[in-house]
């Protein structure tokens, strides 16, 4: 039998027009499921965005002992400037560090007021040619322990961050996978209800000699359309939430490098549309099986 695409499409459209409530239920279910999926995407994109922003900005900080003399500090500075991996070295005196601290917390005088002028150590801020060399530079600085009290560099932060974010991201992916399975089940159940309401219709179709494919195709198109609408709405909602979040984080979390570009709108749209379409079609297919056994 030739495949009658036009007929299937017309049937699907007609069914949706005649059962708007069922279509709305399916669309809303898909929308909610994919919204959660999309928010998961959003969170992992931002976590990864922050991690990579931190990674980009690799510098090593060496804090001097409080009682280190200016000569000693100048000597270390010159030594460090001689390292091949180092592109730039900036000396920050204790007073400058305190000044920066005061500026940062200028809105919180209660924190700053009780502090003296010399509670922060002087330090070297060392910019690197290659972020990967942070370890080597830190190891060399170990040789200056007589005046250098503490060596801090983002490699450590990154390692800690990586440990945390890998858990977070794996958790998110796991939750997303579970959620997808739940979505398919939930949606196939919703679709099953709508098909159940029309089981007599399917029975008649089968009895007048319609093949399984002939009966099924309009339902698959229906599932596809509902999945795409649900996915599209979810993508719109997710992107809107993202812009709200980025705007909010700009004022509320000024130190966290959150960027709009961390989330690729086309990717989100694509993923959610694809997920919606697959969920809709798969859900329809699964729930049809039972009713076709006539």
């Amino acid at each position: 039998m030739r495949f009658n695409l036009g007929f299937s499409l017309r049937e699907a459209l007609k069914n949706m027009r005649l059962n708007p409530l069922m279509s709305i239920t399916s669309v809303v279910t898909t929308f909610i499921c994919l919204l959660v999926l999309g928010v998961g995407l959003l969170v992992s994109a931002h976590v990864e965005g922050v991690v990579s922003a931190v990674r980009q900005d690799v510098s090593v900080e060496a804090f001097f002992l409080q009682d280190a003399s200016q000569e000693e500090m100048d000597r270390v500075r010159e030594t460090v400037e001689g390292y091949p991996e180092v592109s730039e070295v900036t000396y920050v005196s204790g007073e400058e560090a305190v000044e920066r601290f005061r500026q940062t917390f200028s809105e919180r005088p209660d924190i700053v007021s009780d502090l003296g002028d010399d509670f922060l150590p002087a330090s070297l801020q060392i910019q690197l040619e290659d972020p990967g060399a942070a370890d080597d530079v830190a190891r060399r600085l170990e040789g200056e322990r007589s005046v250098v009290e503490n060596i801090d560099y983002p490699q450590r932060t990154i390692e800690r961050l990586d440990a945390v974010t890998s858990y977070v991201i794996w958790g998110l992916h796991g939750a997303t996978a579970l959620f997808l399975v739940a979505s398919v089940l939930l949606i196939s159940n919703t679709i099953r209800l709508s098909i159940f309401a029309r089981r007599q219709e399917i029975e008649v179709m089968k009895l007048v000699g319609a093949s399984d494919g002939f009966v099924r195709t309009p339902f698959l198109f229906e599932g596809l359309a509902q999945g795409l609408v649900g996915g599209g709405l979810a993508a719109a909602a997710v992107l809107w939430l993202n812009s709200l979040f980025v705007e909010w984080s700009g004022t509320a979390l000024p130190f966290v490098p959150i960027s709009v570009t961390a989330v690729n709108s086309l990717f989100v749209l694509g993923v959610l549309l694809l997920a919606g379409a697959s969920i809709g079609v798969l859900g329809s297919f699964l729930s049809m099986r039972r009713f076709l056994k006539i």
Partner: protein
């Protein structure tokens, strides 16, 4: 003697574990025959219909329809098999969200017929059953008799060699029932093999056709020109 259109050879059907619906039934219906299957509810009439459609499989014995053994038809070819058989039901089984014309057209669309020939044939068959003016009505806007005419039109529009009707007049008043039976008889006279399951005594007596009587899943009587029951 013509060739057998429907052949039941020693057919037994047991539902579940021990509900015997048919027991060792032999039945031969020739091409172009008109046969009444009569008997009380649960005597096995509907089971015979469902077996012919390959809606259920026999527990034992073999069935041939139109020269083909049903056991040899794979599941995916069942729709093709059903296109040889027009079906009429007691409850009409029309699609509620389609008009009379659309219901008839659906049976043709299912078999992949061209839209052109659908547009031509649907009005023809609807006027044949006397519903030319009602073609745009939905089933709930039609009377029971009219709905049954639509379902007969649907069953017959592709001119299948066999037409089976399960209690076609079960929901209709006597006058309407007679119209429906005469319609079935007309289809029979065109050359279609017609099998009607019924317990409508008056109808069977009026038409004087072959009568196969069933009781508890067995054929208890088979008369060529019979009445519903033997006159005492």
């Amino acid at each position: 003697m013509g060739e057998a259109m429907i052949l039941f050879d020693n057919v037994t059907k047991v539902y579940g574990r021990d509900t015997v619906a048919l027991e060792r039934v032999d039945l031969e219906i020739e091409a172009g025959e008109f046969v009444f299957l009569v008997g009380a509810s649960g005597s096995g009439k509907s089971t015979i219909m469902r077996l012919i459609l390959k809606e259920v499989e026999p527990t034992a014995g073999s069935i041939s329809v139109n020269g083909t053994k049903l056991a040899s038809i794979p599941r995916r070819r069942v729709p093709h098999h059903r296109r040889n058989i027009g079906c009429v039901f007691q409850d009409f089984k029309l699609l509620p969200n389609k008009t009379a014309a659309e219901n008839v057209a659906y049976a043709m669309e299912v078999t992949g017929q061209r839209r052109r020939s659908i547009r031509i044939k649907v009005p023809q068959i609807l006027s044949l059953v006397g519903l030319a003016e009602k073609s745009e009505k939905y089933p709930h806007e039609l009377s029971g008799g009219q709905q049954q005419r639509v379902s007969i039109a649907r069953a017959f529009v592709s001119q299948p060699p066999i037409l089976i009707a399960d209690e076609p007049t079960g929901n209709l008043d006597p006058d309407t029932s007679m119209d429906i039976m005469q319609l079935l008889d007309r289809i029979h006279r065109i050359g279609t093999t017609v099998v009607v399951a019924t317990h409508d005594r008056d109808m069977v007596n009026a038409l004087q056709k072959r009568v196969v009587a069933l009781e508890d899943g067995r054929v208890v009587r088979d008369k060529v020109k019979g009445a519903y029951a033997d006159e005492v």
